[in-house]
């Protein structure tokens, strides 16, 4: 069970949070213009990286805010957290 540093509340137990899959997948603005394949790419295709992964998390039992997490899936070390809409830290 890891400790996540919520950008709004600070460090909290993992059990207060819920994972929400890969980050930075933007819902297409004009879905109707997309082919089946393009839509399927948005809808279904997700990376499952061993190593550095960009993820969405939500502080369900806290402030209920969504935010982004950079986590190394091989050892669960969280490299950074940042708010929705912000760019990932470069370092």
């Amino acid at each position: 069970m890891f400790v996540i540093n919520c950008p709004y509340c600070g460090e909290r137990e993992q059990s207060e949070f819920k994972a929400g899959g890969e980050a930075h997948i933007v819902r297409p603005k004009q879905p109707t213009e997309l082919s089946d394949d393009q839509w399927a790419e948005y809808l279904f295709m997700r990376k499952n990286i061993k190593g550095i992964q960009f993820e969405r998390w939500v502080h369900t039992h806290g402030c209920r805010k969504w935010f982004n997490v950079i986590r190394d899936t091989s050892n669960d070390v969280i490299k950074a957290v940042y708010k929705m809409g912000e760019k990932p830290p470069t370092k």
Binding site: M1, P31, W66, M84
Partner: protein, 1001 residues
């Protein structure tokens, strides 16, 4: 008959406090401070169990939690009985009852012992190979395997004891209170860290605390007295908490550890009343210092498992700590100096030592000289080749080792003995370190795995880090502590050390024998009866990975996880396969380090506290009126209200009829309610529902269907426009939390520009739903000043009102197809409004109905229940609900998916009505639907989702999903049941009042 082997008073044993206990039905005595194992040994009892596979007699092997053999069944009563308790860990108390568990009918005469003679027929993988075929015989095999092998009995009644969970946060956690752990705890506490020190034993000080020999000294003090002073000092720190009888079970990432604290297991049963038995500690530590020590290795030779064979360090502990001799004619067999430490301890206490067998040829240390001075016979360069004695060792034979240690030479020498201590050197207890994700490295010089890469803020110190000797500990631990805790000094610098111990060791994983390997029984894993021969066989059969060999031979798969023999298994694999130990890796050590009781794991979450449940504000009324309840999500909902001995069917039929004939009343408070406000609220609803919301007037209600982005139905409910920028959305009872979460997700991540605020108000309102042809008359009496005329208050509209002075919202909406009203009122007035409706409805025989009747009534109307008639593979089109999908809206959640190649298939499962040929026959929900029984294999077309007997239509009705069902209207299909086939006809899912006349009746 039994002898008393208590040889010396020990300060850890209170000989004024005599305790009686029963083992296998016989009463024995021990003293306060004894473990069950030490008390049995004092009574000269070694035979305590039978081995798992061969049922060989087994005795106490160790003096700690690593015990593989002496695992017993504790307590005889059916609620407290506990299997797999290590006799070496349980402290005796008045009235303790224990019995051997892996034997039938008794430990002295075990029928399974025949397996020992059949052992050539029981090689590694025997169970896999034999019992796999033919599969149909498995039941028969299983009966015999379970009867003759089983590892203990489970309790058959609820556990009467109390358990609890506790969170602990600390700066520094020290695991293990041996000499290294005490040094760490004191250094941390002295420097202001909030420190927690835990140890699985009942005392502090580890093995050093009973080290009373002149051969080891610090500052010219014997070790135990030096350490005692340190322990007395640490007790003074207020920022240091010490917990004994506390075993760390798991070390997870981010320094999160689970420990079990035993609070009453050492007390007599009557002293335990109303006390918490065990506590699960959930520890989050900023820094962790692991000082878990090391486990002595056995030696692997033929028949190395007889009762009376113990680890050499265990014999020393029984003598020093408990004042018990494990035998009268003791022999020690070693490859290092540790056994001499034992020998000198025993000698000092007047316990006889026949001989020491040392596999090293050239040895020289102060310890050995001391042993020689005491005229202890030492066989240098020898190995034990066999042991004798069925239920207790009585003789060993030894032979000289060849120079390379690969074979034995010369002739056999026999030595009579009743106890054999073995010492194969030490294995660092790295279990917790590896559980935490740490990576080990192999140290070739003494063949041990030691911590290498730490995954979190932690260190291992002392012998769990491979620093075994006193000199090594004192020279490494203080420096490590200074660096890890970032402190300038410790109390342990410039100590004067005297140690007679020499580190030399001659490591031979499998000792040679004069027999061929196939004829030997050299046990590597005692608990699972895996021998060196089994491991070699697995390698011959092609297994290479250590994890595969482990599973095939079951080495390390017992309740002790192979704490003693895993290293030897690796060593034998590496020697046989010619691979390097370091490259082979180890098997994974998994939590818990020692077994946990289920009670500890669940804590207080038992019985009514197992899971939380939610009650509506009207719950008490339902209880008083004898409702049966059903669980819906976490809610307890009134299911039906049986009257005068009615069964469920009769009650539901009566309730359903009353609701359509006159009036019914339902507690709908559990429906999810989300308050939506903001200038973009209408736009938001347009995006999350399939239909259009722009033109919904203030004061009007609308049904909405919500999809997932994949086009599948997710939730449904009625939303009411309360004001220009204000809506109240209702969701399904079970879906409320998820719907709110999903809406928040879209708002925060995809559409942050929308001005919308969501608030869950499910618990804030009670909802009373009154339906039926007389509903209007009833609610008009409850709220007399409100205009209920159809012109002023039509179907799908809403009004604010007051009942007495209490504000309420009244919606004219219907889930039954009847004329009906929902009154929403602040939760704490819910019951009073319900009672007012009951009172007003008396003259109309107003009938409370539960969820079952609600489901029946809506099924008559063909209304779906999300989650019952849908299962996340149904689109609105599949449900024949095309009417609710807006063609005009450019986008909404899931829209694009409604015309993917897969969602537009004609042969998708679609919702249809089903009518049985025999109107009295009610289908089973979940039953399969087929068309042609003769086709092979039979093609499954779908299944029944909802099915009831309709008292209003006087026939059986059902909803189901059928492949291509939309175009099968009127077609005959078959429901195949176990002993019959039911003929059905595909029908319109709306069975009653398709014209919606009743809504305005």
């Amino acid at each position: 008959m039994t002898k008393n082997l208590r040889v010396k008073t020990s300060k850890f044993i209170d000989e004024t406090y005599k305790i009686s206990f029963k083992f296998n039905g016989t009463t024995y005595y021990g003293y306060k401070g004894d473990t069950l194992a030490s008390a049995l040994l004092a009574n000269d009892i070694h035979l305590v169990g039978r081995s798992f596979k061969y049922h060989r007699p087994r005795g106490i092997m160790t003096a700690g939690s690593e015990e593989p053999n002496a695992i017993i069944q504790l307590h005889s009563n059916s609620s407290r009985t506990e299997p797999n308790v290590r006799a070496t860990e349980i402290e005796i108390y008045e009235g303790l009852e224990a019995s051997s568990q892996n034997c039938w009918p008794s430990v002295n005469f075990d029928l399974g012992g025949v397996n020992n003679f059949l052992s050539p027929l029981l090689p590694a993988g025997f169970y896999y190979k034999t019992f796999m075929w033919p599969a149909s015989f498995w039941e028969k095999y299983e009966y015999f395997i379970r009867k003759s092998a089983g590892l203990g009995k489970s309790p058959t009644e609820p556990d009467p004891d109390i358990y609890e969970h506790r969170y602990i946060h600390c700066d520094v956690l020290v695991v293990g209170a041996g000499i290294s752990g005490i040094m760490a705890a004191k250094t941390a506490a002295k420097n202001g860290f909030k420190t927690l020190l835990v140890d699985e034993k009942s005392y502090l000080g580890g093995s050093t605390i009973y080290q009373d020999s002149e051969q080891f000294k610090i500052n010219n003090q014997i070790l135990n007295s030096w350490l005692e002073k340190e322990i007395n000092e640490i007790k003074k720190f207020e920022n240091l908490e010490v917990k004994t009888r506390t075993s760390v079970a798991a070390f997870h990432g981010y320094n999160f550890l689970l420990a079990r604290e035993n609070l009453t297991d050492h007390l007599s049963i009557d002293q335990r009343t109303n006390k918490t038995r065990q506590r699960l500690l959930k520890i989050r530590a900023k820094k962790v210092i692991t000082a878990t020590g090391a486990l002595e290795r056995p030696l692997i030779f033929d028949n190395n498992d007889r009762p009376g064979i113990l680890l050499s360090s265990a014999i020393e502990k029984y003598a020093n700590l408990f004042g018990v001799a494990c035998g009268e004619k003791n022999v020690l067999f070693t490859n290092n100096d540790s056994a001499y430490e034992t020998a000198i301890s025993l000698y000092q206490k007047g316990i006889n030592i026949e001989a020491i067998i040392d596999n090293r040829e050239e040895i020289d240390s102060k310890l050995i000289k001391e042993a020689e001075k005491n005229n202890i016979k030492i066989y240098k360069g020898f190995t034990v080749v066999n042991t004798f004695g069925y239920k207790r060792i009585n003789k060993i034979s030894i032979m000289q080792l060849s120079k390379d240690g690969q074979k034995v030479v010369g002739s056999k020498i026999s030595i009579a003995c009743d106890c054999l201590g073995i010492s194969g050197g030490w294995t660092p207890a790295v279990h917790l370190f590896t559980q935490s994700g740490g990576k080990l490295k192999f140290r070739d010089e003494d063949q041990v795995f030691i911590p290498n890469i730490y995954p979190s803020d932690q260190i291992s110190i002392g012998s769990c880090n491979g620093d075994f000797t006193l000199d090594e500990i004192i020279s490494s631990v203080p420096n490590k502590l200074k660096e890890f805790l970032n402190v300038k000094k410790t109390d342990y610098e410039n100590l004067e050390i005297y140690s007679a111990f020499n580190k030399s060791k001659r490591n031979i994983w499998l000792l040679p024998s004069d027999k061929v390997i196939g004829k030997t029984k050299s046990f590597v894993d005692y608990q699972n009866d895996a021998t060196a021969k089994d491991i070699k066989l697995a390698l011959r059969e092609g297994f290479r990975s250590i994890e595969h060999v482990k599973r095939y031979t079951t080495t390390g798969m017992g309740t002790d996880q192979g704490k003693l023999g895993n290293m030897h298994a690796l060593g034998i694999i590496s020697e046989t396969a010619g691979s390097k130990m370091g490259e082979l890796g180890t098997t994974t050590f998994r939590p818990p380090y020692t077994p946990l009781t289920f009670g500890t794991i669940v804590g207080r979450n038992v019985g009514e506290y197992f899971d939380i449940f939610r009650k509506t504000p009207i719950h008490d009324w339902h209880v008083k009126n004898k409702a049966e309840f059903e669980n819906v999500g976490q809610w307890k909902r009134a299911w039906y209200y049986p009257k005068d001995g009615e069964n469920m069917h009769e009650a539901v039929q009566r309730e359903s009829k009353a609701a359509r004939d006159s009036a019914g009343i339902l507690d709908a408070s559990t429906l999810g309610k989300i308050d939506i406000q903001g200038t973009d609220a209408s736009e938001f609803l347009n995006r999350v529902y399939t239909n259009s919301w722009s033109k919904l007037a203030i004061g009007k209600c609308r049904y909405g269907l919500m999809l997932n982005e994949d086009g599948m139905v997710y939730d449904d409910g009625v939303t009411t426009r309360l004001g220009e920028n204000h809506y109240i959305m209702t969701t399904t009872t079970g879906g409320a939390a998820n719907v709110l979460g999903k809406l928040e997700d879209y708002l925060q991540t995809e559409w942050p520009e929308l001005d919308v605020y969501l608030t869950s108000v499910t618990d804030h309102y009670a909802t009373v739903s009154v339906c039926g042809p007389n509903s209007k008359k009833i609610v008009s009496q409850v709220i007399p000043e409100l205009d209920f005329s159809d012109e002023s208050f039509p179907h799908m509209s809403f009004k604010n009102a007051k009942i007495d002075k209490i504000k309420c919202r009244v919606m004219r909406i219907s889930f039954t197809g009847e004329h009906s009203y929902e009154i929403n009122v602040q939760a704490n007035y819910g019951k009073s409004v319900w009672e007012k409706c009951m009172e007003a409805g008396k003259e109309f025989n107003i009938t409370p109905y539960g969820t079952e009747t609600m489901h029946l009534l809506r099924a008559e109307k063909g209304f779906i229940i999300v989650g019952q008639d849908t299962d996340a593979t149904m689109t609105p089109i599949d449900l024949q609900m095309d009417w609710i999908v807006s063609k005009k809206k450019y986008d909404f959640i899931g829209k694009r998916s409604l015309y993917r190649s897969d969602t537009i298939r004609d042969d998708r499962k679609q919702l249809v009505g089903l009518l049985t040929e025999n109107p009295e026959e009610v289908l089973e929900e979940g039953a399969q639907i087929i068309a042609d029984i003769k086709k092979s294999p039979v093609e499954m077309l779908g299944h029944v989702t909802s099915s009831y007997y309709s008292p209003n239509l006087k026939k059986s009705i059902a909803l189901g999903v059928v492949k291509g069902g939309k175009n099968m209207m009127g077609q005959k299909l078959i429901i195949p049941m176990e002993n019959k086939q039911i003929n059905v006809t595909v029908a319109d899912p709306v069975f009653l009042d398709k014209e919606n006349k009743r809504l305005n009746a």
